[in-house]
């Protein structure tokens, strides 16, 4: 009893977005252009991935699946970087964010595919690609927030860090408070959504499954699985990114090394 959506249904929803844009342009709120670009990106990107998934499901080539996954991870890594007010210079920035996504999403997806879902074959794209996508989409928010918080507070509180170094604290200890602050900032979104799930919000994946005709309790089980994976993935991802950045912020004589940071205008 799956109700398929027609072009007309989608256009109706699109009209709402256009109306919002028109009103915000009229009130000079200045988000219309960004909103339209984002809506257009969503449409094009999702349609494309729909086509890719369709051909992917038909072919089940492991190399093809891997390629898609790598593209997804690099794009997410790049997105994280572009949300930073100050990022590590050179390849370090991209390396740190992509590396942490590899831990937070890729490894966790693999673990889940092998031990929990046990699809046959394990790389079957119907499970692998959506799982990885869901993990990437959620963990990259946490990682981006945690990273940004750490570099920003370290920058603003430079005198405090140096004061603690002068008192003979190790670099690791001198930045430890800021690191746990950043960890908290990165974890708050997923903790909030776990706490509110079911009471305040019905998570998107579960809603989609139920609307597509799945048994609610089955949908709930998948949702719980996803939530746990996202929180573990975000946690490990944020921990690794904070560890790498706080190492990189100091040189081998435990001095602050802000020349390794590049300031960029966040859009």
């Amino acid at each position: 009893m799956l109700i398929t959506l027609t072009t007309f249904d989608l256009s109706l929803a699109a009209v709402l977005v256009v109306m919002l844009g028109a009103i915000s342009a009229y009130m000079k709120l200045g988000v219309a252009k960004q909103l339209y670009i984002a809506a257009l990106r969503t449409t094009v990107q999702l349609l494309l991935i729909g086509l890719v998934l369709k051909s992917l499901f038909e072919s089940t080539q492991p190399l093809f699946v891997l390629l898609i996954c790598l593209v997804m991870i690099s794009v997410a890594g790049w997105e994280i970087l572009s949300r930073q007010k100050r990022k590590l210079k050179g390849w370090w920035g991209f390396g740190v964010s992509t590396g942490s996504l590899f831990i937070s999403s890729f490894l966790i997806t693999l673990l889940c595919l092998f031990t929990i879902i046990q699809a046959d074959p394990w790389y079957s794209p119907q499970y692998a690609v959506p799982l990885l996508g869901m993990l990437l989409g959620n963990t990259m928010t946490g990682i981006a927030l945690g990273m940004d918080r750490l570099t920003q507070t370290a920058w603003q509180q430079r005198p405090v860090i140096e004061q603690r170094l002068m008192l003979g604290e190790s670099a690791d200890k001198a930045i430890s408070d800021m690191r746990s602050e950043a960890m908290r900032a990165g974890m708050i979104p997923i903790i909030n959504s776990m706490a509110a799930a079911g009471l305040v919000s019905l998570p998107g994946m579960m809603t989609g499954q139920i609307m597509a005709g799945a048994e609610p309790v089955e949908a709930v089980k998948y949702q719980i699985l996803i939530m746990f994976m996202i929180s573990a993935g975000t946690g490990f991802g944020v921990i690794s990114v904070l560890w790498l950045i706080s190492k990189r912020l100091f040189d081998d004589r435990e001095r602050l090394c802000f020349r390794r940071l590049l300031r960029q205008s966040a859009d």
Binding site: P159, Q163, R164, M166, G168, S170
Partner: protein
């Protein structure tokens, strides 16, 4: 070899600087603003990049981990920072008796740091720094915000510490009279070079 030994130290466009300091000796240092006094102290504490060698009792700076070096060669910067809520939280154990010698009352350890004046921060900053029992004190205009009475308490506290531990100190100040009072030798940094200062200038 001397207690504290600076050999061919260069940082930015300053140096080379050579200086030997003996135990229980205080060196006075002045010079125009921007001449590199603060950065000399930062280099000695290994907080800024530099070349050359610095020895404490024949132990070379780079042979220790940076934070071990800094707990022995301790820098008190012109402005001290306090990042926790109360004074006592910044200490392993707050030295109430010693605080009295610097003119504080019994309850200072409970004070919120937001109510500290800059002069109080400087005096408490000294106490906090001495908790590691450093062998070398690098003092960057430590009494700039103190009234004459507290300035005198501060001076005698440092002189006592240096004599009894024994430690040594480099004391940066613009106050030539103060440097005459507290130090055995006075130097001046000008255009990145260290000059012996003739007594009485």
């Amino acid at each position: 070899m001397s207690f504290f030994n600076i050999q061919a130290l260069k940082y930015l466009d300053c140096g080379p600087i050579n200086l030997q300091i003996e135990a229980s000796e205080i060196i006075g240092l002045n010079g125009p603003s921007g001449s590199g006094k603060s950065r000399l102290l930062r280099s000695l504490a290994d907080l800024d990049e530099h070349t050359g060698n610095v020895y404490l009792r024949a132990t070379e700076q780079s042979s220790l981990k940076a934070h071990e070096w800094r707990s022995q060669v301790a820098l008190l910067s012109a402005e001290t920072y306090w990042w926790l809520d109360t004074v006592a939280e910044h200490f392993e154990q707050f030295p109430t008796e010693k605080a009295k010698l610097l003119g504080f009352l019994n309850d200072v350890s409970l004070w919120p740091v937001s109510r500290l004046s800059s002069g109080e921060k400087q005096r408490l900053g000294l106490l906090r720094l001495l908790e590691n029992e450093p062998d070398v004190l690098l003092l960057d205009e430590p009494t700039a915000n103190l009234d004459p009475e507290n300035e005198q308490l501060f001076e005698s506290y440092v002189m006592n510490y240096v004599r009894e531990r024994p430690a040594c100190a480099i004391w940066v100040s613009h106050d030539v009279d103060q440097l005459q009072r507290i130090s055995q030798r006075q130097y001046m940094i000008q255009k990145g070079q260290l000059h012996t200062e003739v007594k009485g200038i």
